[in-house]
Symmetry: C2
Subunit: 108 residues, 2 copies
DNA sequence: CTTATATATGAAAATATTATCATATATTTG
DNA sequence: CAAATATATGATAATATTTTCATATATAAG
C-alpha cells in the first residue's frame, strides 16, 4: 500500500526527506578508505580487520573506526570468531554506486 | 589503448586513485541541498538561480555557493541571459546515483 | 545617472568529519 | 595466571564542509 502525498507542502517535505536519506547514505560512502573497504569486501568476501588493514596499508584504529561506522549505518555486517572479527558487505546495492561513478567525468 | 598495471604496487596505487576520484564525486553530491538541486534540474531542465532558491526554500547566497561549487566540479553548467543565470545539469550520469540509492536501506 | 534586481564573492562563524594516540577489552596460548 | 594478539573505544587534535552575513558586481529600466 502506497502513501499518497497530496498537498504541495507534503510533497516538498517528502522530497526533502528523501534527499536527506540519500545524502546520508552517500556521505557514509564518500571517503576513499571506506570505498576501498567496500570494493575489497566485494571482491574478497568477508575479511578480518587485520587483513583489511594490511590490504589497504592503514592503521588498525582508523580502519576499525571506519568499519564500525559503516556497520552502524547498515552497510557492513560482522561476526566474531575467536580473536578475529570478520566484516562483510551487508548492503550490496552500495557497490552499484561505485560502478555508477566509473562513467562520470568530473573536474578534480 | 589501455594502460597495463603490472606490479602489485602499481595496481594498488591505481586503485587508490580510483577510490579518491570516486570519493571526490560522491562528496560533491552527498548533501541534501545539492541533491535537491540535481533532482530539480533533472526534472525541470535549466533554471534561474532565484527560481531554484524559491523551489527549495533556501537563501540565495547559500544556493549560489552550492551551484558554483557543483559547476566548478563539472556537474553543472550555466549560461547568463541578462540579469539571470541559468544552471543546468552537465553530468547527467550523476542522476543515476540517486536512482541507485532508492533501493538501499540504511540505518539512519 | 539612479534605482532596482539577480547573482557572486569573501570572510567569519558554526559544524561535521577524519586521524591519531593511548589505552581498554576480549580471547587464546603457554 | 601471565603474555600475546586482535579489535574496540574515547578523547583530542587536525581538517574540511557548510552556513551566514555583508557587500560587490553586473545588467536592466526609468
Amino acid at each position: 500500500m502506497e502513501i499518497l502525498e497530496n498537498t504541495p507542502k507534503e510533497r516538498f517535505q517528502a522530497s526533502k526527506q528523501k534527499m536527506e536519506k540519500a545524502a546520508y547514505i552517500l556521505k557514509t560512502v564518500a571517503h576513499p578508505v571506506r570505498l576501498a573497504i567496500i570494493e575489497l569486501l566485494n571482491q574478497q568476501g568477508e575479511m578480518g580487520v587485520n587483513d583489511i588493514c594490511k590490504a589497504l596499508d592503514c592503521e588498525q584504529s582508523l580502519i576499525s573506526h571506519h568499519l564500525i561506522n559503516m556497520k552502524l549505518r547498515g552497510i557492513l555486517q560482522s561476526h566474531k570468531d575467536g580473536l578475529n572479527v570478520y566484516y562483510d558487505l551487508k548492503e550490496k546495492e552500495i557497490v552499484k554506486l561505485l560502478q555508477c561513478i566509473e562513467n562520470c567525468d568530473c573536474n578534480m
